[in-house]
Symmetry: C2
Subunit: 393 residues, 2 copies
Amino acid sequence: MNPSDLPQPNWLLSERARKLTSSAIREILKVTERPEVISFAGGLPAPATFPAERMREAAERVLRDAPGAALQYSATEGFLPLREWIAERYRVRLTQVLITTGSQQALDLLGKVLIDPGSRVLVETPTYLGALQSFSLYEPAYVQVPSDAAGLVPEALVPALTREARLLYAQPNFQNPTGRRMPVARREALAAFARESAFPVIEDDPYGALNYRGEPLPTLLSMAPEHIVHLGTFSKVLAPGLRIGYVIAPEALHAKLVQAKQATDLHTPSLTQRIAHEVLRDDFLDTHIPAIRTLYAAQCEAMLGSLARHMPEGVSWNRPEGGMFIWVQLPNGIDSMALLEAAIAQHVAFVPGAPFFADEAQASTLRLSFVTVPPEQIEQGVARLGQLLRERV
Amino acid sequence: MNPSDLPQPNWLLSERARKLTSSAIREILKVTERPEVISFAGGLPAPATFPAERMREAAERVLRDAPGAALQYSATEGFLPLREWIAERYRVRLTQVLITTGSQQALDLLGKVLIDPGSRVLVETPTYLGALQSFSLYEPAYVQVPSDAAGLVPEALVPALTREARLLYAQPNFQNPTGRRMPVARREALAAFARESAFPVIEDDPYGALNYRGEPLPTLLSMAPEHIVHLGTFSKVLAPGLRIGYVIAPEALHAKLVQAKQATDLHTPSLTQRIAHEVLRDDFLDTHIPAIRTLYAAQCEAMLGSLARHMPEGVSWNRPEGGMFIWVQLPNGIDSMALLEAAIAQHVAFVPGAPFFADEAQASTLRLSFVTVPPEQIEQGVARLGQLLRERV
């Protein structure tokens, strides 16, 4: 008998839980786990970038030298030497740093602490799906901020739009899903806005270290250190399976986030925090990150080449300067959700663009990840997508 | 300059965050981290019970044999072989099992999915402080269910009390904070109630394996497998620093918990789940748990002996048959919060009873943990407490 056919108690759920609907896309994308599927869907870092041997040695040392502490309950704020490492790297106060169970948890905690039902929450157009999922559990009213190829348009932040908002959420570096990067002038304008604003500007920065062309741009945090809430993660530069992120916030907000985290999972695992800190020693990232950049830059180039070779007239895409994603614009009238079903039949997968919009979804868009699949398969997969699109334009 | 003296942005917080107040007790208990303090406050398992060498070997194997998977993103539901292990041990369906980032996260997810502001939530008198902290973020109206030395009184669950409730939360085994255990007849009555109830009965069972006298009693889950939501954890039988708990729930609720968890932290770390599963192989717990029981039973006896030797007339306590805690009743009029301040000055700590009550706190109670501190120090610490009390009765 299928478990879902069993008689189930008909318990009353919370308002927020009743609004949760099983995602159609999530169901479709489950098939992408089959080995025959070439998946551009997941944002999975290439396992070749995981420093496995160094992790093994770090775990060995941590469990040999400090097993009692590594296996015991620990402080909600996080492992002190890891927090110190972060404070030093970002030139912020230790008292601003909270370790989270992945960046995703930082989003949940910010939702908990800042959003009431109906609170206005400002997001980019489009924005990170996972942030929408986290915030939505606190039942906000989303306000999409006009955005273009260079990201959020600061001039659009007029009082009529921002009134009574509780937060603004943005990814200035190689945004998920569009891969776009906000230029310095816009960062300065957004930092200035943050300094004057009655609510925090959240700078979510999972991809900042992955810049392939030119220089890294300064963070919003560096421009307005007392007014930006900055989220970082080790998922893209070490390994996502550790689930270690961090949030840097002014002390008054930090204190509330710590209290919320204590109620949420007490603390991030002591063991993984200590392993991460051990791996980071001796400036490991200074040599490791360039190696990731080289690999991903080549895969990005491979995908851009494949797209140029195989996409029909009328399909356009951006040339990301870093990160993991390319954003594709289909000719109007082609629904990427319907295209996904056809693509899955051809053993290729991507994520349709619609779920990344808080409102007024653009159905003729899609997101391709270039980091999980090697170049030969990128060529094959993009060729199949191109063929499907040629049949449709 | 003290960071808290810095000018801080005056951002508007959510209703739930504004209700969060810094716990006076938490501030006082921070000093218990000093080595000179004999602390009966924390519920910290004795590090001697952590299978450190086996953990080291497990980490070594996991990171040698499957580094790609152990360091990658993984399923929200949890590591499949670990879920299978749990399903088999509890004789439930795999589709009921969700791995959580410690049991604390299961409480947060249940709050998210079941509680609206003002929802009635039934709890024991007193109840686990961490559950109150988790649930409170969803702003329920608590209803204390009358309880006595044998735990929650099932006869008290009359319609006038249970009307419109969203959940009932209980710890039938060696409850935190009281150490009491619910006898079989009451379990049967509560399981029968769960089968007829319009809302779930949550059985939180962190201490069930730690029974020192007699036989383990059957779980509520075994009595009403389709109507009890059961929370378990590896924190007390392996190591809390892994932060691995689990929730067993009917599929309809399970599906909502999975969606809520995805929005909360995507998944529990892949690495720690695989290490835990590796440690559990070959029926490890069958030899490990009896060793923990032997150690803790001796420490429990030591504390009971010290209490008998040093406590003045008018102080009473229970004789727990398992778990980690003894609940102490002071003569009326002695406030355990004031006593704590005097005790800290003598380098002894405990947790005052008041915060464990959702309502109508009994100020003349306190909780002692007997698992963290070795017997010599138990004797010393209890002697000092006895002296302080003799000065007060």
